[in-house]
Structures are given as structure tokens and as C-alpha cells.
Symmetry: D2
Subunit: 378 residues, 4 copies
């Protein structure tokens, strides 16, 4: 095993998501973090590098210095793949620069702020032929992967309804407390978060999970969003009607103001013969229900699972792995791709998933603004 | 205790819902079944009466004979209250006749086929001053009643989202098997079932549960329905966006084609301070979630519950009561009303709930037909 | 259908268990309560009879009057079966008298206070050839019955371990509050409750459930009991090691002082190929687990269930039936036996189960007194 | 942050538990693995070192070479702490050697094979004043730590019963398949596993969890063990009655032959006022039940938790962390101890817990051999 040389943009002191990515990279045992631009504040940047025992000469002042510095190194010393874990509005800028210089990229979602930016990244990834992964972390759970495989096997018959929800409550504490907190939170500021809060941050995960597990494409959406309070600009809550081909219908429900909900993402896919249900907060249980047989619960680390599911879990049955391991699985998939090893279909979300996500968010916002009419995802 | 004299229209041999009503009446210990019209086929009608040890002279040939026969009896022998447990399209006809003749009525839902019929029943109930109950059975569960009481107490803060679902799968076996079964099932035939299958049969329960527990009124709906197969006339599946006053939004999802779902009715009401969740298949658990305190699970037979909840459960804690007892609670509430005893607010759904239900179903169907536009419930 | 004529001893005003029996008899739709001795206090006895609309001449002053009065009636008017729902210490006396006079009997558990009394009832039941049922209510649940059938089918392979628990907490409120309450509670008084509180009242249910579902017989026990407080004479808590034939081992755990536990009876039977688990508080779920297949959940009202299970549930799937219906199923089984209809094996616990229960309780108490040594159940 | 220099004994290619320790060390972000003796087979040892990118000169042939080699390095280059992840019978030998040479040690459980060996390690740890941790991994879960803190706070009142179980089923596949597999598995061979299989491997975890969470000491035990098959020498199943001071009683149940059980470790502590329940397979839920208040569910990442619990979880609420993170928490605690940072009481199990575990296992085996009599843990 030869560990991949990892760089990181963002994710400095106190950054929650950057920490998650570093843990995941270590869990996968496929990466060594060697350098990056961890903070726009250069002093904090250097402080963080020291904490992480990163060589000072690879703690770069900005993205340009990063690219120049790394390209100046001999190829076998150079950082091969870079994780982008900044706020949303910076993803595009950094991803573009890195891909243009042939770095492989692991990017947090949402990939960009606009569909156009997303499509530009597709163009670049194809041109430069790099590996690009988008961290829809939940696709890294073994039972989500097994759900994908079971659906692919045809066990559900014809899919007749799709239903996903993503309910959180944490924004309540912001909007119902001191008003000034609303403006202070970047997720509620269109400049940094883009056109949507709830749908852009979490609804997009539900959307991705639907397309990931079913292999189907949403064709159009009709949404009803809610910003809850007058002084909030973006949506904090909403329901989205979905239409697929062949008259298949579905719904995504998402909210950030469901008091007491933690991170309640779940998905149910209903077929003519059977249905599958999965919940993120208890990720190691996958339920297959049918009208004619007892409910079946699939759990990781069993011979009855698909190879893809089993390759995504390490411990023996009954030893719960969690969200860091899910993200670690995505990191592992990226490593396989970079090394040219054969992987499973769906080991990490791609730049094309990023385009789908942007189309979803923008269509949903457009539908809501247009008085809840149907908008196509194109 | 003096048991009420009960009559029944419909519910003869093999009738599932009539049996449930009789059991509920016996569980409540407030009724004695004395007569009725149990079947349109007079021979089967008499056969059933014999099985139930009902006096042959009170097994009537039809509703007119029933009314005439009972009115001919001295008042202290006469049936006081009549349960209507026929297919949907007959509810109105029988209810009207019975109310006009001053019988108290317990009617299965949906109350009528049209809003106009429902409003006519309101007029008659008010004119004749009888007790009229609509058996939205789920409102009889102790934890649903406690949910109503907790919401009334203000524990949730401002309600910010309402979400109810009713998922079943049993119609799959009809529509995917022998095609001819579709026409043979009265629930799929507009003539007998009315304008809707899924929304009229089960979506209406979710709607009722929302208005029952929150005390709020849905102002308008936007629906997307699905009949799944070309040869099915009525909706078997759908999603309904809800708007209440003060910008409150919500959603009802209902389907009869979710393979493997049994009777999965549930409701969640999300407030600014806390939220409540309840599921029909595990009816003795009510969840209060908040961002600042551990999740709380309320169960029946505890001093911490509201009086209304406690009056709706008999056994000590941990002895599960179920759906028959829920329906029994409604029968008990009706008995209290007829006897003039003081009851709780909400011990049985009324003729006004019946009107609301009809408005819901017709608005939902209209919205779907109009290309998924908003339709007011008026 | 011809309803059976039911009598009752005990169960007057305020009696919780008598009420449960009456509800169950009504749910089964197989009985009409015609008379009895409902209270030792004759005034209260008469008051109760009036409330229940029972004819005054069949509200008897005592058991002798009951027997004499009923025997004086023509056979087709006479009460055919009598429910005994008095405190434990009176069961034997009443049962003996009734069986001697050829009444069929439904008796609350524990059947008697001593093994000798239990065996005397066996002798009488055999001599008089009456139907005698012991209401171990939990055997009436459809999924307990399905568990019995699945085990009988051999699906578990060789049984390797048996584990049952019955945890309650309600006695805490008696023993930790006002001391004088201890003496006031008949369940804590050896004169009325017999040699045991916890094991005699609830451990015996766990024992019965083991023998009922597995068809195996416990051969010997080793117990460690705990009365928790110095001024409590009887056990309130304990663990019982079990030995069956062929080196099979198991354990029963029971307590009345587990604060917060409601009525947490559960059983797990572990085999070499698979295992079954069931919990009373969620009685409509039966779990089959194995090392090679996904966990399966059996629920009532499905074609995949055994005939016995399906005959024990009425409503369609997902409509929860509860403990009254379980007791109702036992009443229904008794009715079939009295009428000579063919029933399932195990539709009601018998006088022989009563003997087993007495042997269990007395062996457990003896083991504890003897310094936790093995005691055979003989 | 300065990462600690980590060594490892055992845990080479294909070793499941060694991999878990390495992942945990990486998750904690407090260690860098620099060398060790990963395999008794030197070629495989070297192969593993290469895979892990470990410098060849620190891949030692055996423990003596390891000690000599590391001691020859300047102190600031030297490995500071060594994880022992070999089969049970080698723990003592390696731990002794390492402690004698003043290395800090992280040792898998069971710590030794005998009580005498365990006590010798205590003597050495005290003499050499090193940090010694025993990886009872389950004590690293945030909700187990919160359970400890809640019990310490007195919230339960007087503890009245303690009940822990550890059920697995995986050994079924060994003993019921090809007989020769029994002799091939080191866990079933007394020479390598010690005097017990089930109690030594998993019962000991349940025991540790009881003493860890309650702070109480088991005084004596009475056990009934079962080796299930004639050709199995060690226990595969058993029940252990527990006695604590002040007449507190409890029970541990453990089995490796419960077909279908995965890793079902759970614990319940029952008090006079309230009780706490936790299950390893759903580790992020801690249940507080009482007779007077709704059940409360504690989950990680909430301000209502104890500081110790919150320091043991990183992600926001609803993002499940699992068993690797639990072990990582123990590694983190060890790092704090080695660096002299202030930690919480109970951040890692110690050499004294190791002695308790050995006393438990040996007392249990002795009790079983003696015909199920009481044996003191001394």
C-alpha cells in the first residue's frame, strides 16, 4: 500500500467539516495529509499546520501559492488529491483552479452555487481527466449501497412511489433567539450559501439519495418553500413534488426548523412487489417490506449482502460503524479510482451528481417563486 | 348504568367494519345491539340476526321498515342510536332518514360522497338536535388525545410545519393481479366510493388527525395524485400540500400501493419549541422531541398524562390496548353525549368533521384535475 | 351461534381483573354474563349486578347459594361456565366447589396456593370431565401462538438456551412510600398471596410462556430471590436458573421493583439454526433471527402465518389488537371446547398448566430458602 | 499538538483487532504508528510493515529486539506507548516485558490468563509508574459514559437490581459444522484462551460495564455454564448470579451460541427512583425510565449531557458515531494521561480493571465446577 498525498483547502482550526474529512482520510488508511491552505487568515493557517504536524513549507498562503508550490515539486512528492472543505461559495473557484492544474479533487457539497459553474466543472474534469468526487457522505453507508444493489436487482418490481425526507431543527435556535444571529450565519446569507438554505444544504442530500439508490432521474419538480420568518431571506423548510418518467411520482420533504429533529434523513422506495426503507440515524438497518413475506432487516457484515455493501463495512456484525466510516468509504473509493483499481459502481458521487444537485436546487427555488408550478430539471 | 339500545345498518355476515363496531360497542359496555338492517339480502339479514341472537321482529327488511317498526315501539323500548356501517355511497341516505326521525347516529367515514350532502346532514343534526358521531377511529387512541391536549397547552410554541402520512399496500394485490378484480372492488368504483379512493379512504384520516390534534384548519390544498395504472379510475396515491393561516405549511402523503405497508398512519407536528410524533401501528407511544431536552415518550396509564388520555385507557401501564379499544372510546363518548354526561372536548368526531373531510377530498381531487393548482377548502 | 351462559365469582365494583374478563368475554362474542357472586359484601354485590343489568335473582349471596340456585334451574337456563377472578387464596375453594357441581371453569392464575390443591383440581376436572381454563392471558396473543407453531415446526434446530424476563416497577411506590402500605397490599401478604409475590404473580407467567412456546418441561430450578426491604416478607425480585432435559439451560428473571418498567414480559428461545424473540409490550412483532439470513419480523394478519396465529387476529394488518383481544382469544378457545368444536392445540391453558405453575413457584421458593440449591419440579 | 509515538505487538496482516486499534489511534489523531512486532512470522511481519509504510528498521523480529532497539534510540525518537493486540495467552508476557522497560501500554482484554499474572502487572505498573490501559472498548461510548455520570449523580435512588447480557451467535457456525473446526479455533482452546471462552471473551465485558457504570463491586458469584457440545472444553454459554454489598443482587447472561445474535451487549441498572438502560448495537441511545415521568432518551451532542459524554462525541446531533470512535475515545484518554493532561474519571479502563476481570472469570469457572455454589471475588 502506498498512501496518497492529500492536500486540503479550508478546514482549519475549529472547522467541523474539515475535521470530518481528515478523520475519514485516516480511517480509510489511504491518505497522508501533507499540505494545504487551511485558513484565509495566514497566522491561523500556520497555527493549524503546526498542530497537524504539517511541514511549514507546505502550508500555503493561498490557492495560487499552493498550486505553484506543489507543481514545483517533483511528481513523486507532489500532492495528488485535494479536499475542498470551504463554505459553499468558494467551492467552484478552488475546484476550477485545482482541476485546471490536474489535481484530483474531493469537494464538499453543494458543488457550486450555479448550474453553469457546475457544468463548467464537468467540462474541466473531462478535459483534464482527473478524479473528482463530491462528498454526499450518506452514499458511503453500507446499507445505502446495499439498497442501491437490491433495487438494481429488480427485487421491488416496478417502482411506484419515492419518498425522502431530511428533517433538522437546529436553525430554530438561530431564528427564534437574538435576531442579529440571522445575518451572522453564512448558511442564511445568499451571498455565501447560494439561492437556498434548506434545499441547498439538506434537500439536496435527499435528492441525491433518491437518484443514487434508484438510478432514476427526476424530470421535474413543484415546490412549496417556507422561510418561516419575515427577516429570513432563504428557505428553511419545504416540500417538493417530484415527477420521473413513466408517470412515477414522489416527494422530498426537508426542513431545518423541525424542533427536536437532529439529522433525520430517510428514504423509502415503494415498488409493486416490495419496498425498501432506510434511516440515516440508524444507518445499519435496511428494511425490506412486502405484502406476502415477513419484513426483512438487512444489517452489515453478513454473507447475504451484496459485495458492495460488504466492502463498505469492516467490523463483524453488531459492531456499529457510523458516519465517519461512511465518509471513509468514499475516500477509499476515490483512492481506488486514482490508483486505477477496479471499484464498484457508485463508490463516490461524481461531478455529474454535482450538476444534478445544482439543477435540483435551482429548479426548486424557481418553482416556488413562480407560484408553485412545475419546473423541469434541465 | 343503563345500556343504550343500539341499532345497526349494514354490517352483516362477513362485514369487517360492522364487526369492529359491534366489538367496540361491547367493549365500551354502554350498548346492547337490539336490531337493524344488516344486509340488503333479506335471507342473509335474518341469518345474521339469528347468529347475533337478535329478536327476529327487529331484523328489518329495509330502512323504512326499521324506522316505522322502532317508532311504533314505546319510547323506552325503542332503539336510541344507530350505527351506519354500509359502503360509502349509502351513508348519506341512511343517515338522513335516521336523523329526520330523531335517531342518534354513529356513521362510518367518509360521511357522505359530496360536500352538499355533508352540509345537509349538518342542517338536519342541528334541526333535530341529535347526537351524530363520525368514526374517525384513530381519534379514540389515548395518545392521540394526549397529543391534542399537549398542543392545546402550548408546549410546542408556534407550529411551523405539519406532516402526516397514511401508507398502505393492499391495493397492489388487486391491480397487479387479475385485471378484472379492479372493477369488482367497490373502493375502486366511483359510483360506490365517490370521487377518490386513496384520499377518500385514508388521506381523509390523515387530514382529520391534523385538524383534530392541532385545532387548526387547512385553508387550501395543492395535490398531485396518481392512479398508477391506466385502467384505474380513481387515485391510489398522492401528495397534498397544505396551507393554514399565518403562513403555516404542511403536507399529507397517502398511498394504497406502497407494497409492504400495512396501516402506516402517522403524524408529526413541529413547533418552534418542540415537536410531537405519533404512529398508529404503535399507538401507545407519543414522542415529544426538542432541541434542548432528552426525547420524552409518553405512554398510557400514567399520572403525568392529561385527564382525557387517562380516561381513554383502562389497563395498567404496559398492557397494550389497541384499535378496538380506540373505537370503543368513541362509542363511550357518544354514550356520554346521549346520556347528557359531561365529556371531554373531542371524545368523538362530529358532523362538522364530516363536512371538513368532504371539503378536503373534493378540493384535493379538484386541485389534481386542474393541473396541481391551489384550491381553497370552502 | 348460541352464546354461552357465563357466571362470575369476584370481579365486582372497582375490580380491575374482573372487568378485563368481562370485556374479553364480550369481545369473543361467545358469552352472556347472567349471574354470579361479585362481592363478599352483599350490598356491593347487588349494586354491581344492577349496574351490569344482571337479574337480581341471579346475584347470589355466596358460592353455595350460587350452586344451589343455578342447579335448581332447568339445564337450558343454567349458567354453563364460571369465571373465578378473586384474590389468589380463594381460587381453589371456588374452583373445587364449581367443578364438583360440574360447572366449567375459567380461573385466574395462580390456580391455587399449593401444589396439593392444584393436583386435587386435576383429579376433579378429570373426574367430572369439565372444561377448565387458566388465564395465562399472554398465550392468547397471535404472535405467541405463532412462536409456538414455528418452534414446533423445527425451524430453530436444537434449542440451546431459553431466556425469559418479566420486569415491573409498580411495587416501588408501595415499599418506598408510607411503610404501612406494605401490610395493606394483599399481594405482599403471604396469607392471601401464597408463598411468593414476584414469582407467584409474574415469574409464573414467564415460566408458563417458556413451557407453552417450546413444549419443553423445566426439570429443576436454582433461584436467588430478593425481598429488597427488611419488612417485606415475600420476594419482590429474583433470578431463576433453569435446567431442562438434554442439558438445555435457561433463565427466568423477574422483578416488581425495576423502577420505570411497566409490564415488560419477554421471551427469547435460541436454537442452533435460528432464534425467536417476543415482547409483550409490542405484542404484534415476532422476530426470527439467524446467522445466515436477514432478521424476519412476523406480524398478524398475513398469509405467511400459521393457521393458529391467523385465527387469533381479526383486523387487517397494521390495525393493532391488544391484551383484551388476547384474553378474548382464550375465552373463544374455551367456548369452542365447551361446544365440542375442534380447536388448536394450545387455545387455552389448562389445569395441568396450573399444576406446573404451582410446582415452579414452590420449587423456586424452596431453592432460595435452601441457600440457592437445585430443586426438582416434581 | 504533538502526536505520540506508537508501537504495536501483534495485529499484522489479516488481524481484525489490530486493525481496529490502528484505526482508533488514527481517529483520535493523537498517535503515529512507528514500529512493532506485527507477526511471529518474520516475513509476514516485514510485509505488513511495508504495507503500513513503517520504516524497516523498526519492524522488529521479536519483543526483545523491540525493547533493545527502541531503548537504543534517543528518548525523543523512542516509541512511547505500545498496543498489545495478540491472542490472550501472550498478553501477560508482552505487557510485563514492556512495563519493566517503562513503556506505556494499551492492552487488549482479557489482560492476562490468571489472577496472579494480573496482580503482577499491577505491581509492575505501580513500580514503573507507567500508563496502562485495558481496552474494554464499550466504555468509550459517549452514552455509557453519560450513564456512569448519571448514576454517580444519584438520579436512580438506591440501586435495587443490575442486569447485563452479552449475546452472540457466531460460534454456532463452528460447532455445528465440521467438528475439526473446534480444535482449530484458538478461542475454544484452553491453552490459548484461558479457562473460559464465553465468560472470558464476552461475559467479562458485561461484568466490566456493570462495575464501570455503577461504581459498585461484585462480591460473589454463582454460575451455571454450558459448553453445549461434548467435544467443546470451554463454556460457550452461561448465567451468573451476582451479589454486591447491601444485599444488592444482579445477573449476567452471556452466550456465544444464540443463533442470530450479533453483538448484543446491553446493561440495565434499576434503582428505587429510576432506571437506566443501554444497548451496544444502538449505542447512541440511553434510556431513563421512571414510574412518574415519561421515558427520556439521551443522545450525544446535546447540552443536556454531562461534560464527559460531550467530550466523547464530535459530530453534531444525529450523525452516528460508532465503535471505532469509542475505541478512539479510549486512545484519546490514554494520550491525555501520558501527556499529563487532566482527564475525566473513567476515560480508559486500567490495570485494576484487568485484575477485577480475571477474578470474575476465575470465580465464575470455579463456581460452575463446584456445582453452582457461591464464590467470592477475592
Amino acid at each position: 500500500m502506498k498512501r496518497l498525498k492529500l492536500g486540503m483547502i479550508g478546514g482549519g482550526i475549529g472547522a467541523f467539516i474539515g475535521d470530518a474529512h481528515r478523520r475519514a482520510s485516516r480511517i480509510s488508511n489511504e491518505y497522508t495529509l501533507l499540505g494545504g491552505v487551511f485558513d484565509v487568515d495566514y497566522e491561523r493557517n500556520k497555527e493549524f499546520a503546526q498542530l497537524e504536524e504539517i511541514s511549514p513549507d507546505r502550508c500555503y498562503r493561498d490557492i495560487d501559492a499552493f498550486v505553484a508550490g506543489e507543481l514545483a515539486l517533483p511528481e513523486d512528492k507532489r500532492i495528488e488529491v485535494v479536499s475542498i472543505v470551504t463554505p459553499n461559495f468558494l467551492h467552484y473557484h478552488f475546484a476550477k483552479k485545482l482541476i485546471e492544474n490536474s489535481f484530483n479533487v474531493i469537494c464538499e457539497k453543494p458543488m457550486t452555487l450555479t448550474v453553469e459553474e457546475a457544468e463548467e466543472l464537468v467540462r474541466l474534469v473531462e478535459e483534464k481527466n482527473v478524479t473528482f468526487a463530491l462528498t454526499h457522505t450518506y452514499t458511503g453507508y453500507p446499507m445505502v449501497r446495499h439498497m442501491k444493489e437490491l433495487i438494481k436487482s429488480g427485487i421491488l418490481g416496478t417502482i411506484q412511489r419515492v419518498d425522502a425526507q431530511y428533517y433538522q431543527g437546529w436553525i430554530n435556535t438561530l431564528i427564534h433567539g437574538n435576531e442579529s444571529r440571522i445575518t451572522g450565519v453564512w448558511r442564511l446569507n445568499p451571498e455565501y450559501a447560494g439561492v437556498s438554505s434548506c434545499m441547498g444544504d439538506i434537500g439536496i442530500h435527499a435528492f441525491n439519495l433518491i437518484e443514487y439508490t434508484t438510478g432514476l432521474k427526476v424530470e421535474k419538480v413543484l415546490s412549496d418553500l417556507n422561510s418561516i420568518k419575515d427577516d429570513v431571506e432563504l428557505d428553511l423548510d419545504g416540500t417538493v413534488l417530484l415527477r420521473f418518467e413513466d408517470n412515477l411520482k414522489g416527494v422530498i420533504r426537508a426542513t431545518q426548523v423541525a424542533a427536536g429533529e437532529e439529522n433525520n434523513l430517510n428514504i423509502a422506495v415503494y415498488g409493486s412487489k416490495a419496498s425498501l426503507k432506510w434511516e440515516q440515524e440508524n444507518p445499519n438497518y435496511l428494511y425490506l417490506i412486502s405484502d406476502t413475506e415477513p419484513t426483512k432487516i438487512y444489517k452489515p457484515a453478513h454473507t447475504y449482502n451484496s459485495d458492495f455493501a460488504e466492502a463498505s463495512h469492516v467490523m463483524p456484525a453488531g459492531h456499529p460503524e457510523g458516519i465517519y466510516e461512511a465518509l471513509g468509504n468514499i475516500y477509499k473509493g476515490v483512492a481506488k479510482a486514482i490508483k486505477g483499481e477496479e471499484g464498484f459502481d457508485g463508490e463516490f458521487p461524481t461531478v455529474y451528481d454535482g450538476v444534478r444537485g445544482m439543477k435540483f436546487v435551482h429548479s426548486v427555488v424557481k418553482s416556488n417563486k413562480s407560484g408553485n408550478s412545475w419546473v423541469e430539471l434541465k
